[in-house]
Protein backbone atom coordinates (compact mmCIF):
# COMPACT_ATOMS: atom_id res chain seq x y z
CA UNK A 1 0.00 0.00 0.00
CA UNK A 2 1.55 3.29 -1.04
CA UNK A 3 0.87 6.78 0.29
CA UNK A 4 -2.07 7.53 -2.03
CA UNK A 5 -3.79 4.30 -1.08
CA UNK A 6 -3.22 5.01 2.61
CA UNK A 7 -4.82 8.46 2.32
CA UNK A 8 -7.66 6.94 0.29
CA UNK A 9 -8.33 4.37 3.00
CA UNK A 10 -8.47 7.15 5.60
CA UNK A 11 -10.99 9.08 3.47
CA UNK A 12 -12.98 5.90 2.83
CA UNK A 13 -13.23 5.13 6.55
CA UNK A 14 -14.32 8.71 7.26
CA UNK A 15 -16.88 8.61 4.44
CA UNK A 16 -18.50 5.31 5.35
CA UNK A 17 -18.39 5.96 9.11
CA UNK A 18 -20.07 9.34 8.81
CA UNK A 19 -22.56 7.90 6.29
CA UNK A 20 -23.57 5.28 8.85
CA UNK A 21 -23.87 7.97 11.53
CA UNK A 22 -25.89 10.13 9.14
CA UNK A 23 -28.34 7.35 8.40
CA UNK A 24 -28.75 6.22 12.01
CA UNK A 25 -28.63 9.51 13.94
CA UNK A 26 -31.80 10.41 15.84
CA UNK A 27 -31.17 14.15 15.57
CA UNK A 28 -32.34 15.24 12.13
CA UNK A 29 -29.94 18.17 11.77
CA UNK A 30 -27.06 16.00 12.93
CA UNK A 31 -27.66 13.55 10.12
CA UNK A 32 -27.59 16.38 7.57
CA UNK A 33 -24.30 17.59 9.07
CA UNK A 34 -22.82 14.09 9.04
CA UNK A 35 -23.74 13.97 5.37
CA UNK A 36 -21.49 17.02 4.87
CA UNK A 37 -18.58 15.02 6.27
CA UNK A 38 -19.39 12.10 3.96
CA UNK A 39 -19.60 14.28 0.86
CA UNK A 40 -16.40 16.11 1.77
CA UNK A 41 -14.54 12.83 2.21
CA UNK A 42 -15.86 11.60 -1.14
CA UNK A 43 -14.56 14.85 -2.69
CA UNK A 44 -11.17 14.02 -1.21
CA UNK A 45 -11.40 10.59 -2.85
CA UNK A 46 -12.12 12.32 -6.18
CA UNK A 47 -8.93 14.38 -5.81
CA UNK A 48 -6.95 11.20 -5.14
CA UNK A 49 -8.42 9.68 -8.32
CA UNK A 50 -7.06 12.63 -10.38
CA UNK A 51 -10.53 14.20 -10.80
CA UNK A 52 -9.88 17.59 -9.27
CA UNK A 53 -12.56 19.53 -11.16
CA UNK A 54 -15.25 17.03 -10.20
CA UNK A 55 -14.06 17.26 -6.62
CA UNK A 56 -14.56 21.03 -6.56
CA UNK A 57 -17.96 20.72 -8.21
CA UNK A 58 -18.86 18.17 -5.55
CA UNK A 59 -17.82 20.60 -2.80
CA UNK A 60 -19.67 23.54 -4.40
CA UNK A 61 -22.90 21.79 -5.39
CA UNK A 62 -23.32 19.16 -2.72
CA UNK A 63 -21.72 20.60 0.38
CA UNK A 64 -22.54 24.15 -0.61
CA UNK A 65 -26.10 24.01 -1.82
CA UNK A 66 -27.75 20.60 -1.47
CA UNK A 67 -27.02 20.31 2.24
CA UNK A 68 -28.16 23.90 2.86
CA UNK A 69 -31.40 23.07 1.02
CA UNK A 70 -31.85 19.92 3.11
CA UNK A 71 -31.26 21.80 6.37
CA UNK A 72 -33.81 24.42 5.28
CA UNK A 73 -36.34 21.69 4.55
CA UNK A 74 -35.65 19.99 7.88
CA UNK A 75 -36.24 23.23 9.75
CA UNK A 76 -39.37 24.11 7.76
CA UNK A 77 -40.94 20.70 8.35
CA UNK A 78 -40.05 20.37 12.01
CA UNK A 79 -42.76 18.89 14.17
CA UNK A 80 -42.88 19.85 17.83
CA UNK A 81 -40.31 17.61 19.45
CA UNK A 82 -41.68 14.42 17.91
CA UNK A 83 -38.33 12.70 17.49
CA UNK A 84 -39.17 9.50 19.31
CA UNK A 85 -38.69 6.74 16.73
CA UNK A 86 -36.90 7.92 13.63
CA UNK A 87 -36.84 4.56 11.92
CA UNK A 88 -39.68 2.48 10.54
CA UNK A 89 -40.68 -0.92 11.78
CA UNK A 90 -38.98 -2.67 8.89
CA UNK A 91 -35.60 -1.41 10.05
CA UNK A 92 -34.01 -4.85 10.22
CA UNK A 93 -35.28 -5.81 6.78
CA UNK A 94 -33.78 -2.57 5.48
CA UNK A 95 -30.48 -3.25 7.24
CA UNK A 96 -30.37 -6.77 5.83
CA UNK A 97 -31.09 -5.51 2.31
CA UNK A 98 -28.42 -2.81 2.65
CA UNK A 99 -25.82 -5.33 3.82
CA UNK A 100 -26.81 -7.81 1.11
CA UNK A 101 -26.54 -5.19 -1.64
CA UNK A 102 -23.24 -3.81 -0.34
CA UNK A 103 -21.69 -7.27 0.00
CA UNK A 104 -23.08 -8.40 -3.34
CA UNK A 105 -21.83 -5.34 -5.19
CA UNK A 106 -18.49 -5.47 -3.41
CA UNK A 107 -18.02 -9.15 -4.22
CA UNK A 108 -18.89 -8.52 -7.87
CA UNK A 109 -16.35 -5.69 -8.03
CA UNK A 110 -13.65 -7.76 -6.36
CA UNK A 111 -14.33 -10.71 -8.65
CA UNK A 112 -14.25 -8.52 -11.75
CA UNK A 113 -11.58 -5.91 -11.10
CA UNK A 114 -9.09 -7.45 -8.70
CA UNK A 115 -5.51 -6.49 -9.73
CA UNK A 116 -6.60 -3.57 -11.93
CA UNK A 117 -4.84 -0.31 -11.14
CA UNK A 118 -5.54 3.39 -11.67
CA UNK A 119 -2.48 4.91 -13.33
CA UNK A 120 -3.60 8.53 -13.41
CA UNK A 121 -2.45 9.13 -17.00
CA UNK A 122 -5.14 11.68 -17.85
CA UNK A 123 -5.72 14.15 -15.08
CA UNK A 124 -9.18 15.70 -14.95
CA UNK A 125 -8.17 19.34 -14.69
CA UNK A 126 -10.64 22.14 -15.35
CA UNK A 127 -9.11 22.62 -18.79
CA UNK A 128 -9.35 19.03 -19.94
CA UNK A 129 -12.88 18.55 -18.57
CA UNK A 130 -13.95 21.82 -20.22
CA UNK A 131 -12.46 20.68 -23.52
CA UNK A 132 -14.32 17.38 -23.33
CA UNK A 133 -17.55 19.04 -22.19
CA UNK A 134 -17.70 21.72 -24.86
CA UNK A 135 -16.23 19.75 -27.76
CA UNK A 136 -17.80 16.34 -27.42
CA UNK A 137 -20.61 16.63 -24.91
CA UNK A 138 -22.29 19.88 -25.95
CA UNK A 139 -25.67 18.39 -26.85
CA UNK A 140 -26.13 16.48 -23.56
CA UNK A 141 -24.97 19.59 -21.75
CA UNK A 142 -27.65 21.71 -23.43
CA UNK A 143 -30.34 19.08 -22.80
CA UNK A 144 -29.26 19.01 -19.17
CA UNK A 145 -29.75 22.75 -18.87
CA UNK A 146 -33.30 22.23 -20.15
CA UNK A 147 -33.85 19.53 -17.52
CA UNK A 148 -32.53 21.82 -14.81
CA UNK A 149 -34.83 24.63 -15.94
CA UNK A 150 -37.81 22.27 -15.96
CA UNK A 151 -36.95 21.03 -12.47
CA UNK A 152 -36.63 24.62 -11.24
CA UNK A 153 -40.01 25.62 -12.66
CA UNK A 154 -41.53 22.41 -11.34
CA UNK A 155 -40.19 23.08 -7.85
CA UNK A 156 -41.61 26.62 -7.89
CA UNK A 157 -45.01 25.44 -9.13
CA UNK A 158 -45.21 22.57 -6.64
CA UNK A 159 -44.24 24.70 -3.66
CA UNK A 160 -46.53 27.61 -4.67
CA UNK A 161 -49.67 25.62 -5.46
CA UNK A 162 -50.36 24.73 -1.85
CA UNK A 163 -49.78 28.18 -0.39
CA UNK A 164 -52.58 30.16 -2.06
CA UNK A 165 -55.31 27.85 -0.86
Amino acid sequence: MNLVEGIFVVFAVIASGSAILSMTSHQLVHSALWLVVTLGAVAGCFVLMTAEFVAWVQVLVYVGSVVVLVIFALMLTRQGGATTAEVTGNRWTAAALGVVSAVGLGATMIAGFDSERIEGRRIGTTGSIGDALFNDWVLPFEILSGVLLAALIGAIVVSRSGSDR
Binding site: M23, C45, V70, R117
Partner: protein, 98 residues
Amino acid sequence: MSLLYPLVLSSALFGIGLYGVLARRNAVLMLLGVELMLNAVNLNLVAFDAWFADRLHTGQVLTLFTITLAAAEIGLGLAIVLALFRAVRTVDVDEVGR
Protein backbone atom coordinates in the same frame (compact mmCIF):
# COMPACT_ATOMS: atom_id res chain seq x y z
CA MET B 1 -3.74 3.10 -6.79
CA SER B 2 -5.68 -0.12 -6.90
CA LEU B 3 -9.07 0.19 -8.61
CA LEU B 4 -10.70 -1.87 -5.85
CA TYR B 5 -10.52 0.80 -3.15
CA PRO B 6 -13.02 3.23 -4.75
CA LEU B 7 -15.22 0.38 -5.96
CA VAL B 8 -15.52 -1.18 -2.51
CA LEU B 9 -16.14 2.24 -0.93
CA SER B 10 -18.90 2.90 -3.44
CA SER B 11 -20.52 -0.47 -2.68
CA ALA B 12 -20.49 0.37 1.02
CA LEU B 13 -21.98 3.83 0.45
CA PHE B 14 -24.67 2.34 -1.78
CA GLY B 15 -25.67 -0.17 0.89
CA ILE B 16 -25.79 2.51 3.59
CA GLY B 17 -27.88 4.75 1.33
CA LEU B 18 -30.27 1.89 0.58
CA TYR B 19 -30.69 1.29 4.30
CA GLY B 20 -31.42 4.99 4.79
CA VAL B 21 -34.04 5.10 2.06
CA LEU B 22 -35.83 2.03 3.38
CA ALA B 23 -35.53 2.65 7.12
CA ARG B 24 -35.85 6.38 7.81
CA ARG B 25 -39.31 7.70 8.61
CA ASN B 26 -38.60 11.33 7.78
CA ALA B 27 -39.13 12.01 4.07
CA VAL B 28 -36.25 14.52 3.93
CA LEU B 29 -33.86 11.90 5.28
CA MET B 30 -35.09 9.41 2.70
CA LEU B 31 -33.93 11.93 0.09
CA LEU B 32 -30.57 12.07 1.88
CA GLY B 33 -30.30 8.32 1.39
CA VAL B 34 -30.93 8.78 -2.33
CA GLU B 35 -28.13 11.37 -2.40
CA LEU B 36 -25.76 8.88 -0.78
CA MET B 37 -26.62 6.27 -3.40
CA LEU B 38 -26.03 8.80 -6.18
CA ASN B 39 -22.67 9.63 -4.65
CA ALA B 40 -21.73 5.97 -4.74
CA VAL B 41 -22.54 5.99 -8.45
CA ASN B 42 -20.38 9.10 -8.94
CA LEU B 43 -17.49 7.41 -7.21
CA ASN B 44 -17.79 4.45 -9.57
CA LEU B 45 -17.93 6.71 -12.63
CA VAL B 46 -14.82 8.66 -11.63
CA ALA B 47 -12.93 5.50 -10.74
CA PHE B 48 -13.64 3.86 -14.09
CA ASP B 49 -12.83 7.08 -15.95
CA ALA B 50 -9.44 7.27 -14.27
CA TRP B 51 -8.87 3.58 -14.91
CA PHE B 52 -9.70 3.84 -18.64
CA ALA B 53 -7.69 7.08 -19.08
CA ASP B 54 -10.47 8.04 -21.48
CA ARG B 55 -9.68 10.78 -23.99
CA LEU B 56 -13.24 12.12 -23.87
CA HIS B 57 -13.36 12.00 -20.04
CA THR B 58 -16.70 10.24 -20.35
CA GLY B 59 -16.89 9.19 -16.73
CA GLN B 60 -16.05 12.57 -15.26
CA VAL B 61 -18.38 14.46 -17.61
CA LEU B 62 -21.14 11.99 -16.75
CA THR B 63 -20.36 12.58 -13.08
CA LEU B 64 -20.95 16.29 -13.59
CA PHE B 65 -24.27 15.46 -15.26
CA THR B 66 -25.22 13.17 -12.37
CA ILE B 67 -24.38 15.87 -9.84
CA THR B 68 -26.60 18.32 -11.74
CA LEU B 69 -29.43 15.81 -11.95
CA ALA B 70 -29.06 15.09 -8.24
CA ALA B 71 -29.36 18.80 -7.51
CA ALA B 72 -32.49 19.00 -9.67
CA GLU B 73 -33.87 15.89 -7.98
CA ILE B 74 -33.32 17.18 -4.46
CA GLY B 75 -34.85 20.56 -5.34
CA LEU B 76 -37.98 18.99 -6.77
CA GLY B 77 -38.10 16.34 -4.03
CA LEU B 78 -37.91 18.89 -1.26
CA ALA B 79 -40.62 20.98 -2.94
CA ILE B 80 -42.85 17.89 -2.96
CA VAL B 81 -42.00 17.18 0.69
CA LEU B 82 -42.90 20.77 1.62
CA ALA B 83 -46.20 20.49 -0.27
CA LEU B 84 -46.87 17.22 1.57
CA PHE B 85 -46.09 18.88 4.89
CA ARG B 86 -48.50 21.70 4.08
CA ALA B 87 -51.22 19.23 3.15
CA VAL B 88 -51.03 16.75 6.03
CA ARG B 89 -48.80 18.55 8.58
CA THR B 90 -46.30 15.71 8.78
CA VAL B 91 -43.37 14.35 6.81
CA ASP B 92 -43.44 10.98 8.56
CA VAL B 93 -43.84 8.43 5.78
CA ASP B 94 -45.55 5.95 8.13
CA GLU B 95 -48.15 8.54 9.15
CA VAL B 96 -48.69 9.65 5.55
CA GLY B 97 -49.23 6.08 4.43
CA ARG B 98 -52.14 5.58 6.84
